[in-house]
Symmetry: C2
DNA sequence: CAGTATCCTTTACGATACTG
DNA sequence: CAGTATCGTAAAGGATACTG
């Protein structure tokens, strides 16, 4: 067993695994990382790619991902100024894992739908 | 490209991939699935395994996972009654993916910590 | 034992307006 | 263009008490 891979019990609050996961498993973080999968995007492009996300929330999540080292933020002087966001190596690693989750989710969504309907029918 | 694997843009609200991910990427759902990885657990055992979780929240998340088909709930008459929770096949699939995320998180947490410190120092 | 019910606080998020 | 600031709402979660 890899040391530190059991985020259950004991550790709890100061569990480093939980601290990492908390910042990358959220809805917005996932969508941002996936959107940047094919290369750098500007703030506006990213916002359009995700579709439904406010500027405030997008900014918050980008700052968080930047702080933890998953992406870089590059400002190019203007006017108008443009800001490019790009995945780091670690961001790419994360993306690979999230991509697997997405593919699995795509394959499973029908089964989930059927389970829900059966459950709700009772 | 696998059809339906791009949760960004368009789809947005009624994207089936997002609907699946929303129910399995949360903190509690992840911890529950991982805790059940080594076999069925009773409600109380599960609660102790996770450590910090209230009964209300644990129950809510267990119902959600049961509804979507990731685990089964089995009541054994008492007294006292005992309720066993166990992963389904689909739950095991999910667990495999989450386990990979946890292992990656364990390997990455130091790099993340260093990134944060460097970022905050500026 | 395995919940449910109630109340309350915190966090996430949306909407909107403003700025270098 | 890429934010920041402010306000208000809604969902998540904690604490506690109660029950078959």
């Amino acid at each position: 067993m890899v040391k530190g891979t059991t985020p259950t019990n004991e550790n709890v609050d100061n569990c480093p695994v939980r601290q990492v996961l908390a910042k990358v498993t959220g809805k917005w973080q996932t969508l941002i990382v996936l959107a940047l999968g094919d290369g750098a995007l500007r703030f506006g492009e990213l916002k359009r790619a995700i579709g439904d996300v406010t500027q405030r929330v997008l900014t918050e999540n980008l700052r968080s991902l930047e702080r933890d080292g998953y992406l870089t933020r590059t400002v190019k002087a203007g006017p108008p100024v443009s800001v490019h966001y790009e995945l780091t190596e670690m961001g790419q690693e994360l993306r690979v894992l999230q991509k697997k989750m997405v593919i699995w989710a795509a394959e499973s969504h029908l089964a989930v739908k059927q389970n829900r309907e059966a459950y709700d029918a009772v």
